[in-house]
């Protein structure tokens, strides 16, 4: 049988149709099944925080050991006078790749390039 790794590329439209918890659950379910998930638009800081927390709850010995995740650094954005006055400094999230920590290894990360290596289980 040919060994391989499933890669799911999730569009921005599909992500926007999901609630935060649906998004996190979908990511974790995929990754725990050994798949690599590529999000066209990354997670918000709040969602990232919950993803870390929920990942920790799913880790178990000799099973799931967590996630590897990379995204491009946020583009710098002034946000305009009103946004700065109101303190809205949230940066737009960008393309993000998430996979099982024991299968996805980042080889190189630059401002405009992410190079990763994926192994099958």
């Amino acid at each position: 049988m040919i060994q391989g790794v499933q890669l799911d590329l999730i569009s921005e439209e599909r992500l926007e149709s999901l609630t935060s918890m649906e998004k996190i659950r979908m990511i974790l379910d995929e990754v725990m099944a050994g798949n690599i998930v590529v999000l066209e638009k990354g997670l918000s800081p709040e969602e990232s925080s919950k993803l870390i927390e929920m990942t920790m709850m799913e880790i178990n010995p000799d099973g799931f050991s967590g996630i590897e995740m990379e995204t491009y650094p946020a583009r710098s954005r002034s946000g305009g006078f009103l946004a700065r006055l109101l303190g809205r400094r949230e940066s737009p999230s960008r393309l993000t790749v998430i996979g099982p920590a024991n299968q996805l290894k980042m080889l190189r990360k630059e401002r405009d390039l992410i190079s990763a290596w994926v192994s099958s289980r």
């Binding site: 800081p45 927390e53 967590g66």
Partner: protein, 213 residues
């Protein structure tokens, strides 16, 4: 710091003066083995004569958040702040017990440590969401600051609008590059220290008084 940021900070201080919480809790965050507990111990020892927790070369030695109340930090100008210092478990997205067996722990102890570490990371995230008023974000200056967990954590801290001082630790080591950390987070003050040797911690105390006061 631009005029707008300064004005916002002044307004925030003015607001805090009238609606002051009983305590300002400063969380020491960062990835595992960045030197968080070493710094927490130094701060607590310098200002109370006590200590907060044990340190170890094995990652995830701190697996529960530890808090020391009413630590008063002052400078020669007579300015001071009273804070609670919260030493938190190192934040990561992965924990594999095999990592601990490489340090000589047997499987049972390594699995136990891994389980406690996962609980500790979740607890640290919970503290950040609910109970922290300012953050010292610790980085090991010999490592790549662009690691995803750092980008994520600083983003989370910024989104909560918490004041943050970034600490480039371990400058006593030959590979340390605080400049790399400054270039990674130009929007925040970065203080270079050696928590182990105490180098430059006075500058950190000054910045804490300025930022968290």
């Amino acid at each position: 710091m631009d005029i707008l940021t300064q004005a916002k900070r002044r307004f925030s201080r003015f607001f805090r003066f009238f609606f002051k919480k009983k305590r300002t809790r400063i969380g020491i965050y960062g990835p595992p083995n960045a030197g968080k507990t070493t710094l927490a111990n130094r701060i607590v020892r310098d200002w109370t004569g006590d200590a907060l927790g044990p340190v170890s070369e094995i990652p995830h030695e701190t697996r529960r958040a530890r808090r020391r109340e009413n630590v008063t930090i002052s400078n020669s100008n007579g300015d001071s702040i009273v804070i609670d210092i919260v030493d938190t478990p190192g934040v990561t997205t992965k924990i594999d017990y095999h990592e601990f067996t490489e340090y000589g722990l047997d499987k049972e102890d390594a699995v136990k440590r891994a389980r406690e570490a996962t609980e500790g990371v979740a607890e640290a995230m919970h503290w950040l969401r609910e109970d922290i008023d300012g953050v010292i974000y610790m980085l090991d200056a010999t490592l790549d600051p662009f690691a995803q967990v750092n980008i994520m954590m600083v983003g989370i801290i910024e989104s909560r609008d918490l004041p943050v001082v970034i600490v480039a630790n371990k400058i006593d080591l030959p590979d340390a590059s605080p400049a790399r950390i400054k270039s990674a987070f130009p929007q925040h003050p970065v203080i270079s220290i050696s928590g182990l040797e105490g180098t430059n911690v006075d500058e950190l105390y000054e910045k804490m008084i300025e930022f968290f006061g």
